[in-house]
Subunit: 473 residues, 2 copies
Amino acid sequence: MKAVIVGGGVIGGGWAARFLLNGWDVAVFDPDHEAERKIGEVIANARRSLPALYDRSLPEAGTLSFHEELADALVDADWVQESIPERLELKHKVLGNLSELAPENAVIGSSTSGFKPSDLNSEGARAIVAHPFNPVYLLPLVELVGDASETEKAAELLRDIGMYPLKVRKEIDAHIADRLLEAVWRESLWLVKDGVATTEEIDEAIRMGFGIRWAQMGLFETYRTAGGEAGMKHFMAQFGPALQWPWTKLMDVPELTEELVDLIAHQSDEQSGHLSIRDLERQRDDNLVGMMRALKKNNSGAGGVIARHEKNLPYIDDIDLPITVDRQIPKSWTDYNGHMNEAHYLEAAAAATDRFMEKIDADAAYIASGKSYFTVENHIRYLDEMLAGERLIITTQVLKGEGKKMHLFHFLKNADGKLAATAETLLLHVDLNTRSSSVPSPDVATKLSDYAQAHACLPMPEGAGRFVGQRST
Amino acid sequence: MKAVIVGGGVIGGGWAARFLLNGWDVAVFDPDHEAERKIGEVIANARRSLPALYDRSLPEAGTLSFHEELADALVDADWVQESIPERLELKHKVLGNLSELAPENAVIGSSTSGFKPSDLNSEGARAIVAHPFNPVYLLPLVELVGDASETEKAAELLRDIGMYPLKVRKEIDAHIADRLLEAVWRESLWLVKDGVATTEEIDEAIRMGFGIRWAQMGLFETYRTAGGEAGMKHFMAQFGPALQWPWTKLMDVPELTEELVDLIAHQSDEQSGHLSIRDLERQRDDNLVGMMRALKKNNSGAGGVIARHEKNLPYIDDIDLPITVDRQIPKSWTDYNGHMNEAHYLEAAAAATDRFMEKIDADAAYIASGKSYFTVENHIRYLDEMLAGERLIITTQVLKGEGKKMHLFHFLKNADGKLAATAETLLLHVDLNTRSSSVPSPDVATKLSDYAQAHACLPMPEGAGRFVGQRST
């Protein structure tokens, strides 16, 4: 398959990357001398991120070419995408040329944010609107507007490259999403102008609250869920009066007639009526937790709040062996067998190793100084199933701690003290600059040795020093 | 610490859960006979999800009590939160009582979505606005409006329970977030009324595109990033004209004077100027990938699109041993040592086991029929570092496959064929109803046996059958 990209800015480059990394050949036409560099940068970003969404490899990438003649670029095209500036007379000219020169069966899509197909085609072009969202190589949404059979053909091709085509049933300026965005943009400009909030405060008001909600449910399903068992009609009855209040500068509001209320309630039933409010709440919460945990890894937005809060949570005191993990098992750690997945037993054990490292001062500052421990072997025995919501407590015994070696044995138990797994782990101290083994600092060596000596009197744990499949003694 | 919750609906219940699970005692006052059941349901939801955000345990939960007398409930309160219906005369009455009866040093917060502090306190109450977002036990945002020293005190307490207080610098109807929400709500009502889109289509237009973007950056930082190196002023020059176009029903727009453009550009520099556009793009992309991977686990929204697309990606052909994984390493799999974290080697090996199970027909349908394999032991040897963006290919050798046992050996290699790790894994076939071991179906047994026989001629892999710390031979 072959895509032709006309106009190679951030959007055109995003389209190029999306097609290319899904195995299409891509031909670019852009008079800008910088086009190759600019598109190259977007594709570099895309190579870093798009395949990381998948747990399988994408098809072999296609071939990228740049052309000085439009007609050359268009040979054998299956899709032609125009992403030039938002000026109607320019669109007319370019889309006219494309309609004339492109193969008859090629889709001609315009990335326009605002123009309707009837605007674009008023001088004889045959384009449809195929409006994507930045970054095009990651976000799935493409709004399709125009001729029914063309948009249907386009939708199928877009699904093949991992996108989500949304056919807009009636043309309107700015389609759907950009109308909502424009309303927020205008309201935000007022807030800044009137000194109510800064750009940063507005951004925080979005991403710490409704933004993360909207990443997984839109406006209506969110309100349906919030409305509870009483349903969408009840929600609207409750919030209907606010339409008359000065809650936004958008005061030209539709009248909330019985007809409109019924229409919305009916559409909401069609959309979400197969799920109970409890189902919706759980879906929402599982999504929020999963996303916030992902953001926590990057110390970003709502995830950054969790990370900062977590740092201040006290560790409980050690009893016999040091307690290195005490946590609840999140639902995202479970798998198709309905229990904690094998890899997350190790994720928890690895966190126990990290915590133990902190206890011997091999902490973040130590790592920043260029020293760390690398794991060289793990042996995990799975003794009992663990379920979402259960408490997991890990205690850690030092089997050996001298020279470059640290040999640990983690006991993974549930709240009742029942052993669910053991993890035996061998680590080597390394110099992070040379990436080769080295001795720890005197302080770390002493602290580790103290633990090793204190634990020397404990019996060797049942299960240590065993190979996979070894019979119990 | 003690919080008093006045009004126990979805919002009051969410506050109760948030305080309670962070170790506060919570006293509830609500004349509704159903209050205890309703709050109980919200707390049950919260117990399932809030601790799952953390990799440490939260403090021991506080004590929950219900009171019939307001004065009883208020004894020793540190925080009093009013979450009653949005009727001003009712707010006046309740907040008046609270101001009279609550301890002097207690914060009195109102969950009001719309009223300004000057509205709430016009009859002598001393409340501040503390406006949270549903679900209150998960979303961090709380808008604080009112007396400076009271909001400062409130902000500190909210941070302690993992929330993100946003002090609003100037009171206005509906504060900040709900003004943006109300604008979108009104615009959406028009779209439904005019037959441009259904509720479901609007929701998809949000969550498949800008919604997920807003979960990690707000409006202004997103546009700054999209604007590229030319900066925020360039972005505004480009999109300024759209303010005059009919892109929303919100036509009462502020004039984009040089002063307003400068103000926004300046605020945006203050907010994000310490990061280059490239930094911002990478932060954005890492966040999007992390969140979309989280949503993929739940088969929800943009993650559902990825899951469906992934299912259609072809597996490449087996060569010598079956290829059970071929993928790129996402950045979220790396850790503080700058390389793939030990647990994700196992996550990949576990995926290889899953894929091998599919190859012997122990697939999703088989699992749905009540049979599966459970891992009982893993032994992983880490031989080389792997970095984000690298390709990882796993091949799988069957060491044993008879009766209830399946003993596999996974070779984890990079694109050059260099061995980065091995994972030896022993599984037992189980009946998912009794959760105890059982023999596989004849079809699965035969397919497994075919592989075992074909691999019987291969040498035992170096590293198989070894215990942790065993010297190389």
